[in-house]
């Protein structure tokens, strides 16, 4: 189906970006900056318009799907094709055999992603109005945020991997700009550059993966998701990539694409940038580094599920990496004292869950966790931002405490987020995490399952630790700061309430235990169903849903209980201001050390060699040529004196020589 409205989705926030960018530049000279009301109006209006448009498109698409299904059922067909709105816009570039079109496609996967990207995006824009109200650069901030949203929409909406790559780079740029937003502090700039550099490595993998993929499918197939999926669903093609050189090529291609995903989604080995990215303002952490951008890796896996499903090695690697990241980051989260760092490691851990789900072939469960995680992690970050805002910039949870009464709205919202992330029954995280655990048990085997379950326990521990130290334990705030503690303005409170409700109830979009509530999975089935069916295999292990769910709840309760016990026994040392102990540092910065050892130092040594040894050699060669020319020039320069007599003499001598030459026959 064609739709001519898709281009509006990214263009609306782009207009917001341009307007606020112009306002920011125009107000740069004035002492107070541009009008806050006007900036706020633009900042919220355009994302909201984008949200309403995507909601309308999504509902219309659902309606049309239902009517087409009914028609097909009447005619006796079984409809398995995905229905989507398409809008091919123009030919992007053509080089040799490659002919890439620029266009958008809106199907149920895109729709679900867009709904929470624009919806939560709008709420976080609203929140930023309050959070950044006292900041001189609020117009610049809002324009970057809108630009991010536009790029994220392009990423999700692109009809082919290259259009997605465009948005992929765009969100990376905005992430860089926003991490380094407070650029007066140089450590923020370092964090921004680090995020950018680490992502470059991943993006290189993404691009190389695309080249290999293009090699596999050949120039005859258009480079769009639709065509690529169709190619990989063809049994003849699947057989051809099942063995031989093509199988190697496919493994390389998917592994490289996955490397791109690990960069963007902060998985092992490219995860070190995300904790540092917390240097950005908290709404940025909530929108970009928790809810939307970092989940684009999972989105890409689901989008290209047919490709990944064709390579069992890659799927195994993805599942293993996901589980390892989830466990590692959960432990690292427990070791932090900075409220935003805890949430950052928690994000990495939850992303690990999503990759684990995708790796065992449950792409829909992964996307479902993306969806629920967007709510509860956004509310946790926004709540943390509200706490930081109330305490005037304090981020160390050892200097908080007793805030449940002082900040009731923030506390209730974060409580909802905590309820969801620990996986207590009914919360959003409960449904998605249990779904993942179930799929891991069925398709992934016991090792992955127990790793995931252990991660769930540790998640309970560190999240409860955060709640205890911030809200429930006695106050350890400085008296002066405590005096000024205040609940945030309504622009910050409203998103907290909405997202808090979302993290309690978003999970009911796909509650397998309740009949009829499978809206989410049903919608994703046409897109990832084929890949999942091909992976599921013939003999499917059956497990008792109730048993697995109670194990999950047990893990959550166990984690919470352990956390309270640890608090009682004084392990949390909430009054100390010790820096991290050595083992904790080694665990936390393990991958930083690995990067330093395997990436940064070899490059430094190589560049030292190039700089100090190879460069002088090359320069010497260049200078040799220069000296040679100079010497020859010096030889001839003496002839070029502007002395009248010399010139005359030389010209006469020349004339004589010419004469002698002409007379040579006579002289003989």
């Amino acid at each position: 189906m064609q739709s001519s409205l898709l281009w509006l989705l990214p263009v609306l926030p782009l207009v917001g970006f341009l307007l606020n960018g112009i306002l920011s530049l125009a107000g740069a000279r004035s002492p107070h900056g541009p009008s806050k009301g006007l900036v706020g109006f633009f900042a919220v209006l355009f994302p909201a318009a984008s949200f309403i448009l995507s909601l309308w498109l999504f509902l219309r698409l659902g309606h049309e799907v239902a009517s087409v299904r009914a028609l097909n059922a009447n005619l006796g067909f079984n409809l398995s094709e995905a229905l989507s709105y398409k809008q091919p816009l123009w030919n992007w570039f053509a080089a040799g055999d490659i002919n890439v079109g620029f266009g958008f496609v809106f199907d149920s996967l895109t729709g679900i992603m867009l709904l929470f990207v624009t919806g939560i995006g709008t709420l976080i824009h609203l929140y930023s109005l309050g959070y950044m109200a006292h900041d001189r650069g609020h117009a610049r901030f809002m324009s970057y945020m809108s630009l991010f949203l536009a790029n994220m929409i392009v990423l999700v909406l692109g009809n082919g991997p290259l259009v997605t790559f465009l948005g992929w780079e765009g969100v990376g740029l905005c992430s860089y700009l926003l991490i380094g937003f407070w650029h007066e502090d140089d450590s923020n700039n370092v964090a921004a550059v680090k995020a950018f550099m680490v992502n470059r490595v991943g993006d290189l993998g993404f691009l190389l993966g695309l080249f290999f993929l293009w090699q596999i499918i050949g120039p005859a197939t258009p480079f769009t998701y639709e065509a690529i999926s169709a190619w990989f669903r063809d049994p003849a093609h699947l057989a051809s990539v099942g063995q031989g050189a093509l199988a190697t090529l496919l493994t390389a291609s998917t592994l490289l694409l996955f490397l791109g995903c690990t960069g963007k989604s902060a998985q092992i080995p490219l995860l070190t940038w995300l904790p540092d990215a917390m240097a950005g303002p908290t709404p940025v952490s909530a929108l970009i580094h928790a809810a939307t951008m970092v989940t684009s890796g999972v989105f890409l896996l689901a989008r290209m599920s047919d490709v990944f499903a064709a390579s069992p090695i890659t799927m195994g690697v993805i599942a293993f990496i996901g589980a390892a990241t989830a466990l590692w980051a959960a432990v690292a989260g427990f070791l932090q004292n900075d409220i935003k760092k805890i949430l950052a490691y928690s994000t990495i851990s939850q992303l690990g869950f999503m990759f684990l789900a995708a790796g065992v072939g449950a792409f829909d469960a992964g996307i479902f966790h993306v969806f629920t995680h967007a709510f509860f992690k956004a509310v946790l970050f926004l709540g943390a931002g509200s706490v930081i805002h109330a305490l005037g910039g304090e981020q160390d949870i050892r200097r908080m405490g007793g805030l449940a009464r002082k900040l009731p709205i923030t506390f209730l919202a974060m409580f909802a987020g905590w309820y969801a992330i620990t996986g207590l029954p009914g919360g959003a995280g409960f449904w998605s995490k249990d779904l993942i655990l179930e799929k891991v048990w069925v398709h992934g085997g016991p090792i992955l399952y127990w790793t995931a379950l252990a991660t769930a326990v540790i998640t309970g521990i560190y999240m409860t630790r955060l709640m205890i130290l911030v809200f429930w334990s006695p106050s350890r705030i400085d008296h002066e700061v405590e005096h000024h503690v205040h609940e945030s303005p309504w622009t910050m409170g409203l998103p907290l309430v909405v997202l808090g409700l979302g993290s309690l109830f978003a999970g009911f979009a796909w509650a397998p235990m309740i009949p009829g509530l499978d809206w989410f999975g049903r919608n994703l089935a046409p897109i990832v169903g084929a890949a999942q069916a091909s992976l599921a295999g013939a003999e499917e292990a059956h497990a008792s849903l109730a048993l697995l769910a109670s194990l999950g709840i047990g893990a959550a309760l166990c984690g919470i209980g352990i956390s309270f016990a640890l608090f009682r026994s004084g392990v949390y040392k909430e009054n100390s201001s010790d820096p991290m102990s050595l083992p904790a540092r080694i665990w936390t910065f393990f991958f930083d050390y690995i990067h330093a050892g395997l990436g940064i130092w070899p490059v430094r040594i190589a560049s030292w060699i190039l700089d100090k040894i190879v460069n002088p050699l090359l320069l010497g060669l260049v200078r040799l040529v220069a000296y040679l020319v100079e010497f020859v020039g010096w030889l001839f320069r003496s002839l070029q004196r502007s002395r009248l007599r010399v010139n005359l003499g030389v010209s006469v001598a020349g004339a004589v020589l010419v004469l002698l030459y002409l007379m040579k026959d006579i002289l003989k």
């Binding site: 004196r641 502007s642 002395r643 009248l644 007599r645 003499g649």
Partner: protein
């Protein structure tokens, strides 16, 4: 001893060599100009003696060419002296080596 044509040619060559020696060797710009004149007239002499050698067609041309040379030598002397005067006013010098940079 009768003066033969060969003697005239030898005289012309000696005069030319003297003129060239003056033009190249002397630094005073007037001597340079005089050397040039001397060389021109040495060539004239050579032409005339050739006109004696070739009786007939060549005789006339050998007579006419020096007339042109004299006319051109006159204009050359005119312009040359004017330039020397102008340069002398600017530089207070008649040394040709001082005139190595004309645009100054």
């Amino acid at each position: 001893m009768e003066i033969s044509i060969v003697h005239l040619q030898i005289l012309a060559a000696i005069l030319f060599a003297l003129g060239m020696a003056a033009a190249v060797g002397r630094r005073n710009i007037f001597f340079v100009l005089m050397g040039v004149e001397l060389m021109l007239n040495a060539v004239n002499l050579s032409f005339l003696s050739w006109s004696r050698t070739f009786v007939g067609r060549g005789a006339m041309e050998g007579q006419v060419a020096p007339l042109f040379t004299i006319a051109i030598a006159a204009t050359e002397a005119c312009i040359g002296l004017a330039m020397v005067l102008m340069i002398f006013r600017n530089r207070e010098s008649l040394d040709s080596d001082d005139f190595s940079r004309m645009k100054e």
